[in-house]
Amino acid sequence: MKIVVCIKQVPATTAEKRYTDDLRLDRASAEAIINPLDEYAIEQALRLLDAGTVDEVGYLSMGPEQAGEALRRALAMGGESATLVTDPALAGADEWATAAVLAAALDKLAPDVALMGMASDDARGSLVPGAVAARRNLPLLSYGAELALADGQARIRRLSPTGFDWIAAPLPVVASVTDQVGEPRYASLKGIMAAKRKPLDTWSLADVGLSAEDLRSGALTRVTDARPPEAKPPTERIENVSADEAAAKIADWLAARKLV
């Protein structure tokens, strides 16, 4: 049983972000990390590996060459091998193009479970897992708080409007998990050393059987404007007053805005 975890390299949450003149995110200038939600997917896969439920964990990323660093970091947490799909034609890829490329690469890697994070920090569409499943003609199990594998089936525990459900589908599947699967492990020094010797393949677009024309220059959408958010009025502060006074002032503030 084999899991391939799809991870995306994203700008660090705290890094200053810039847009280039052609309105693309300037990925070269920002500190890059593994998309935090993908670390939970890695953790879920490694827990199943630790438990002996799966016998192989690999990683897949699509991005610039620099994204190889994210794959090395994942390998330092555990797992055997990694694949990076990188191609100049993929700069500015949107979720549709990303899904097309990942789907083609996953067809070659043929895992029992293609596991993803629930969303990427920068795009936040949560569309890639479902679009990959659609293209690969496989069931989708999304937003799992836990993934279980048994009897040729994958199951996820997923929040319902009031409680939770277990949802099942026959393998192979595409699945995504949330930050409820458990806190991601840290890479040990030993893991970091071992990761340097693990195989990391680099594939071009042609290697996964796609051409630049198939991907319409990487996107069906384009950004026509990027700007800072509207400035908010400055924060009003209430401090160094008694609790009675604070309560009265909050109530006044609410009343002035017709909120009570």
């Binding site: 972000k17 069931p139 069906l220 509207e230 502060r237 609790a243 009570v260």
Partner: protein
């Protein structure tokens, strides 16, 4: 190709969810600009019985994708058939897990441009234009489909982007979608564990009183219930409070919880981490009570009260009750 505006309408127990009514209002607005009709793609338990009622909200036609309790993604193949047949200008989807799953099915199966989650969408000179806050809210972008992109544009819409209209008297013409058998239909619910107590749908609340690690215990949330009741609102939480088991995860606000946009959000004992902020920063009014004068939430709240919540909250509740009479 048509100028029609489709939207995903989720049902539960035969009634449209608030997201369906919001998107009906949004689709009506867009259709007025595009010169097309409003068509609902209805799914979820009781969608078949309830779909005609969407006519009261300006919906001309409703196509029922599925109306059983199966996972929403099982309606994906039918949604694709309906959209392929009509080639509308746009499909609006709620930016909820179910809405995103169905939107992803459309994007992956029909090769469509996707936008969102957006905080505004409009039709300008026949072209779909969206507005999105990205990169943890640090940048606002405007996007459009590339020239010659296939139709429709699939747009994920955040809760409370549109306001539902008052119900009128119309009836939507209802049809059933063609069945279709992509493996998406193989997902089944094998166990269901509803909670003992009802959990509110936070996305519907206009006032939210949210508690964080500073609340300290499940019992501590009792005073939030009282303040919320006095204000006619609902209780929400940070992930720290949900992780601690003080409240169910359904009440979590933030990147991996609900994205809410109430008229009033009151954060109590919440530091305002970026992952929490992205779930509530579009609230119209934000009040925070925190004993740390340097808490990050103090940098973006409209009113920041430095003090001990255990002292202030009961007094505030009493004061609001007194003023309401």
């Amino acid at each position: 190709m048509s100028n029609d505006i489709f939207f995903l309408a989720e049902f539960a127990d035969g009634a449209p969810q608030r997201s369906a009514l919001e998107l009906a209002a949004g689709a009506t607005e867009l259709a007025a600009a595009s010169g097309g009709n409003v068509v609902a793609l209805a799914y979820g338990p009781g969608a078949g019985d309830g779909a005609a009622g969407l006519g009261a909200h300006g919906v001309a036609r409703a196509i029922v994708l599925r109306d059983d309790a199966a996972p929403a993604i099982t309606a994906g193949p039918a949604a694709v058939e309906a959209v392929r047949a009509a080639s509308p200008l746009a499909v609006l989807a709620p930016a909820t897990p179910n809405g995103r799953d169905l939107a992803a099915a459309l994007v992956g199966l029909a090769d469509l441009p996707a936008f969102g989650p957006v905080r505004a969408v409009r039709v300008v000179d026949g072209i779909v234009e969206t507005e999105q806050a990205t990169l943890q809210g640090s940048v606002v972008t405007t996007s459009r489909p590339v020239d010659g992109a296939p139709q429709p544009s699939v747009v994920l819409v955040l809760a409370n982007t549109f306001t539902p209209t008052e119900a009128g008297s119309g009836t939507a013409e209802v049809s059933r979608a063609e069945a279709s058998d992509h493996p998406f239909t193989l997902a089944t619910i094998v166990e269901s564990h509803p909670a003992d107590a009802a959990v509110v749908n936070l996305e519907e609340a206009t006032v939210i009183v949210a508690g964080g690690r500073g609340i300290g215990s499940a019992e501590g949330f009792g005073q939030l219930d009282e303040l919320a009741a006095a204000l006619g609102g609902a209780v929400g939480a940070s992930r720290a409070a949900a992780d601690a088991g003080w409240v169910p995860y359904q009440l979590q606000i933030g990147q991996t919880g609900k994205v809410v946009k109430p008229a009033l959000y009151i954060g109590l004992g919440i530091s305002g981490a970026i992952q929490h902020r992205v779930g509530m920063q579009t609230a119209e009014h934000v009040i925070a009570v925190n004993k740390d004068p340097d808490a990050p939430i103090g940098e973006f709240a409209d009113l920041f009260v430095v003090g001990d919540l255990f002292q202030i909250v009961p007094k505030l509740t009493a004061e609001i009750r007194r003023r309401k009479g």
